[in-house]
Amino acid sequence: MGQSCCPNDGCRVLVLDDEPLILLDLEFAVEDAGCVPLTALELAEALAIAESEHIVAAILDVSLAHGQTCAPVAKALAERGVPYVLHTGDLDRMDEAVRKLGGVLVPKPTPAAVVVSRALEGVTQRQGA
């Protein structure tokens, strides 16, 4: 909480979840961390953000509505070198394609502040390296 993801505040963080109330909670937590949340309720929204915005990290809900998964976004982010956490209520059922893409797994439910700090760990580590 209150931790800054990078020297300049205002880094953009993509947050994808098909549950609006969880999305709202994560949005607050990203703000609390001094970053700018860009929220997506659907895969298409998330892909659009991933392609058009400069984001430093992402929080991706794995199982989305209509049997979709976050795999396409994860893939797009991986290609751009953007770190992400996979936020999921069912680690067992995780899509094999998503598993292959790697990323930090954060089981649901985890307090939003913790989810955000896990997502930003990747940013700090990359900057440190």
């Binding site: 549950e19 109330l21 969880i22 709202l24 909670d25 994560l26 607050f28 937590a29 199982s63 209520g89 069912d90 067992d92 059922r93 089981p107 649901k108 439910p109 307090p111 939003a112």
Partner: protein
């Protein structure tokens, strides 16, 4: 006796009939009793014809040169007559490896008469639903003289399908020469149906578990943003931590949702997991004690409060501090109790209980346990807090 029989092998009908008569009464009852397991209904049982299965005897009479002589021949006959396992022998030295022997159980299982079976390759049991890859594995094993066990869909004479657990392997003579292929068949249709049911139940439990975790995540979200919008983040967090602890206590239970009870140790581990992310500072000691849901919610929340306090003021607040949690069943058989010992060690010096900051939350633990008709005893030992929690065990509750 055995050598006599072997010498007289070609002319034994009288003896065999006697043995057969002796066996037939029990034999019949045995088959009728066990019929369900083999899907051999009454109409199939009637296909067996005579009371005594002399197929092994006739087979031996026609194959005097093979290894089934002496005692082993007698055993072979009797075993083949009695077993409910469908058995066949195939001749690998004749083109297309025809079946040269089947026992009665094989005929019952498949619905064919002996003369309709002998001389044919085993594949006549296959049909449109038979998995080709299973057949390929059989062929491969036969080529390599390997033993193979496969489950494949086979068909009876009447066209009905059954799942056949086929065991196939080579039989060698004393000189190590391949003489037969031995096949045993067992109808595992019921087993497979049960497995499918079990799989379905597991999938349902997993979906339920997924939804419940999601629901707890949503509730957490609501509490958090409500607290934030009202400027009471600290209070909201305290509430949310309790709710999430409850969620963890229950989450383990859904894997066995139908049992109606919870494994206490699993719930304890799950509740306390966030306070020891590396799994090094909290030690768990207990067995597979089970309880109903309500006791576990109170215990889970109580342990959560103890852990929060330990993280703030106790053994989990400093490096090197450790907690041991032990659970066991205690009390009389009429009034069994879950007893949980919470032992902190290696933390900072213990504060006197009267005037420290944890008093309010400790009060909540006491009240929750009291409401569950249990209690907590605290011993402010110099090494760290030692607490003993008790709640009535209701293991038979559903």
């Amino acid at each position: 006796m055995s050598s006599d029989r072997a010498d007289q092998a070609p002319e034994r009908p009288d003896e065999a009939t006697k043995a057969g008569e002796a066996a037939s009464g029990d034999d019949r009852a045995f088959y009728d009793a066990g019929g369900a397991g083999q899907s051999a209904g009454p109409q199939r049982a009637s296909q067996a014809g005579g009371a005594y299965d002399d197929s092994a005897e006739r087979f031996l009479a026609n194959h005097p040169d093979d290894a089934f002589i002496g005692a082993s021949g007698v055993l072979f006959e009797q075993a083949m007559a009695q077993t409910r396992m469908a058995v066949c022998l195939c001749d690998p030295h004749t083109p297309d490896a025809p079946i040269v022997f089947v026992n009665r159980a094989f005929r019952w299982l498949t619905g064919y008469e002996e003369h309709e079976i002998i001389g044919r390759n085993c594949r006549f049991l296959q049909g449109p639903g038979t998995d080709r890859s299973a057949v390929a594995r059989i062929r491969q094993a036969v080529e390599n003289e390997d033993v193979v066990v496969v489950e494949l869909l086979n068909y009876r004479k009447d066209g009905s399908a059954f799942w056949n657990a086929l065991h196939l392997g080579p039989i060698y003579d004393a000189q190590g020469r391949l003489i037969y292929y031995f096949g045993s068949q067992w109808d595992v249709s019921d087993v497979r149906a049960a497995r499918a049911d079990e799989r379905h139940a597991r999938e349902l439990a997993r979906e339920l578990s997924h939804r419940m975790k999601n629901m707890f995540a949503v509730i957490g979200g609501i509490v958090n943003f409500t607290g934030r919008s009202r400027g009471i983040e600290v209070e909201a967090r305290e509430i949310n931590d309790r709710i999430q602890a409850l969620g963890r206590a229950y989450e383990t239970t859904l894997d066995e949702a139908s049992s109606g009870s919870i494994e206490v140790g699993q719930a304890i581990r799950s509740v306390l997991s966030p306070y020891d992310p590396d799994g090094k500072r909290i030690h768990f000691k207990g067995n597979g004690l089970r309880s109903d849901f309500s006791a576990v919610s109170v215990l889970g929340l109580s342990l959560h409060e103890l852990a929060v306090n330990a993280a703030k003021h106790g053994a989990l607040s400093s490096d090197g501090g450790e907690v041991t949690v032990a659970w066991q069943k205690n009390g009389s058989s009429e009034a069994p109790t879950i007893v949980i010992d919470w032992i902190e060690q290696g933390g900072p010096a213990v504060n006197p209980p009267e005037n420290n900051a944890e008093a309010p939350t400790m009060g909540i633990v006491d009240r929750m346990l009291h409401m569950a008709r249990g209690n907590i005893m605290r011993d402010w030992h110099p090494d760290g807090l030692r607490a003993r929690l008790r709640v009535p065990l209701r293991e038979d509750a559903v």
